[in-house]
């Protein structure tokens, strides 16, 4: 049986052992499956495991590698996919009771791309019902109950990619796939002490993924390092004829090698002064230390401010209206009442009533904001700020009252489709992880990866993991 130390290795190191045949993909898959069966239910991390698929894919990978056909860094690496990605023949519940028996007869493009790269699907990760598309008040807004944080099981792993975050942090898989409409990759990455990449809108195909907000949904990796995120992103990025919102081939595709960074220009970084109006006192110390590290690692780091405007309101209106359209049948049929969360049961009715003129105005505001952010990125390559202004909240928190703070960077970043990468940067005095995010110009995912990787090369927060029985 492989040790937990092996199971916590980043993909970049696991892949070397697999390629050299020091680690067998079948053994690795079995070890992750055993650990997932043991710890997954304690954390509510999985919607379901797919052991038959996993072992079949692992055996195929092992045979290919033995024949000398090595596909690349994800070959033979087990992963989990958020339960809103279609996997042929496997229930895809979108985390919600009304869809508990939903089965698709095709694979999402992301699943297909990962299969082609030789990755091994371990199971479907738990998630907040409908990715929070009908709103939610409690972490328990999920078919399997609230996902617990591996660092402290009385705390939440954050959502909506709640299972994806917990699975990576608990060493239940090599990496996981999540999605973000607003905060659903960056927040679980921060709360769980792992690395998470929210790619530029349009770089990863959403074919076969549940739609919540057609103009804001994005798919990205949660992993143990920024470098891992880059390798996974390189596999899942690209134009897809089945998803008309993907960027053209030359702007969607992403290739990566750490060697690319050797000849690259130094990054121009700016610390965002107004990303959060207030930092929780428990998180102040690690974030202050992270800010000092950023200024040391990126000489000339300036201070910058986000533009003022109703950008959170615009993002909220767009998500609400597009979500009401995406789930119109669920709302009108009344089956929205089957959702677990009291807020989720009613918000769709209100969102249906938002006037079209307000939606269009939100899109006008979005265009203005895109220009303002493009101007800001004329001076900087990356903007840096805390991923969240606090460590993980208690699992029974009322999110509406206890986490009632503005998130202008989340609003702006998602409204403009900007890439962001969250990396661990320390711990609160309650031993909960704290995250730091790097945000870049639309299309410049490489800069956020470079910046995050530079931070991780000079710190060891991403190598720490929770002790789980």
């Amino acid at each position: 049986m492989l040790s937990a130390d092996i199971l916590y290795l980043p993909v970049s190191e696991l892949s070397k052992r697999i390629q050299s045949r020091a680690v067998s993909p079948v053994d690795l898959t079995r070890a992750y499956l055993d650990r997932s069966e043991k710890l997954g239910p304690k954390l509510n991390a999985y919607a379901r495991l797919t052991p038959e698929i996993a072992l079949e894919q692992a055996q195929a990978a092992e045979k290919e590698i033995a024949r000398g056909h090595y596909r690349g860094p994800l070959h033979g690496i087990p992963y989990a996919a958020k339960d809103l990605l279609a996997v042929k023949g496997v229930p895809t519940t979108w985390g919600a009771k009304p869809y508990e028996n939903q089965v698709f007869d095709y694979d999402a493009t992301v699943i297909e791309n990962l299969r082609r790269a030789g990755a091994v699907l371990l199971g479907k990760a738990a998630m907040i019902e409908l990715a929070g598309g009908m709103n939610y008040r409690f972490a328990s807004a999920s078919q399997g109950g609230a996902t617990k944080n591996p660092w402290n099981t009385s705390c939440w792993s954050c959502g909506s990619s709640s299972g994806s975050g917990a699975i990576v942090a608990a060493g239940l898989a090599g990496f996981a796939i999540g999605t973000e409409t607003w905060g659903s990759i960056i927040c679980p990455a921060a709360y769980c002490g792992i690395s998470g990449l929210r790619p530029t809108f349009g770089r990863v195909s959403r074919y076969g993924a549940m739609a919540l907000s057609y103009s804001m949904d994005k798919i990205g990796p949660l992993a143990r390092s920024a470098e891992d995120c880059a390798h996974i992103f390189a596999v899942i990025a690209g134009h897809d004829i089945k998803d008309q919102s993907t960027l053209p081939l030359d702007r969607a595709a992403f290739t990566y090698s750490p060697a690319f960074e050797l000849s690259a220009k130094p990054l121009r970084a700016a610390w965002l002064e107004n990303a959060w109006p207030k930092i929780d006192p428990h998180a102040e110390k690690p974030l202050a230390a992270a800010a000092r590290s950023v200024r040391r690692l990126f000489p000339g780091t300036a201070s910058a401010k986000l533009p003022d405007g109703p950008f959170e309101a615009a993002g909220g209106v767009i998500i609400s209206v597009e979500g009401a359209a995406a789930f119109r049948d669920l709302i009108r049929s009344g089956r929205v009442a089957e959702l677990a969360d009291p807020l989720g049961q009613i918000t769709g009715y209100v969102n249906e009533q938002i006037p079209g003129a307000d939606y269009t105005r939100a899109l006008q505001v979005r265009a203005i904001l895109q220009r303002q952010m493009a101007e800001l990125f004329d001076s900087f390559d990356v903007l840096v700020a805390a991923s969240q202004p606090l460590g993980a909240n208690a699992i029974d928190s009322n999110l509406e009252t206890d986490l009632d703070f503005p998130d202008p960077l989340g609003g702006i970043g998602n409204l403009c489709g900007l890439p962001a990468l969250s990396v661990p940067c320390g711990f609160t005095d309650q031993n909960l992880p704290v995250g730091l995010q790097f945000v870049g110009r639309a299309g410049d995912d490489l800069s956020v990866i470079r910046a995050a990787r530079t931070f991780e090369q000079h710190t060891d927060w991403h190598r720490r993991h929770p002790k789980l029985a």
């Binding site: 103009s215 309101a313 209106v317 009715y349 899109l363 505001v365």
Partner: protein, 151 residues
């Protein structure tokens, strides 16, 4: 069917029906008294009628209209607690809409739409077929640019 001068269009009918159902709520003062009367349930939403007072009378009327329109459309769906929650969500939504509407945009400000990939695809599909470069059809199969077979 040609409509007479006084006939209602379907949209007008729907609008008037909704306004009729929420006649009380179209009056801001009445809307405010509805908030005072109903209040919020214990342990329910954080917004209080005092916070609702921050909205303009028009905003408050819009909240009440939206709330009543939902009840009119779905009369039997909500418990009392859910009704209070619904009104709360209407209020929070209104606060967002008010912030959005207060931001100056001009007639010339185009909305940000993600239609470029679609436009490119349409251009390609409208392009005349390149007969010279069309691959020859394998034996027994029609060429890619051959007209569809008639049933």
């Amino acid at each position: 069917m040609k409509q007479g001068k006084d006939a209602l269009t379907r949209r007008e009918f729907a609008t008037r029906a909704a306004l009729g159902a929420v006649g009380v709520a179209s009056d801001p003062a009445a809307a405010w008294s509805a908030f005072r009367r109903d209040g919020w349930p214990a342990g329910g939403p954080r917004q209080t009628p005092e916070e609702a007072r921050k909205l303009s009378p028009q905003g408050l009327a819009e909240v009440e209209n939206r709330y009543q329109a939902i009840l009119a459309q779905y009369p039997d769906r909500f418990s009392d607690a859910q009704k209070a929650d619904l009104r709360h969500v209407c209020l929070v939504t209104q606060q967002s809409l008010d912030r959005l509407r207060a931001y100056a945009v001009s007639n010339a400000d185009q909305p940000a739409l993600y239609l470029k990939p679609l436009v490119e695809r349409e251009k390609k599909s409208n392009a005349p077929p390149n007969l010279k470069s069309a691959a020859p059809a394998p034996p027994g199969k029609p060429a890619a640019n051959a007209p569809p077979e008639k049933p």
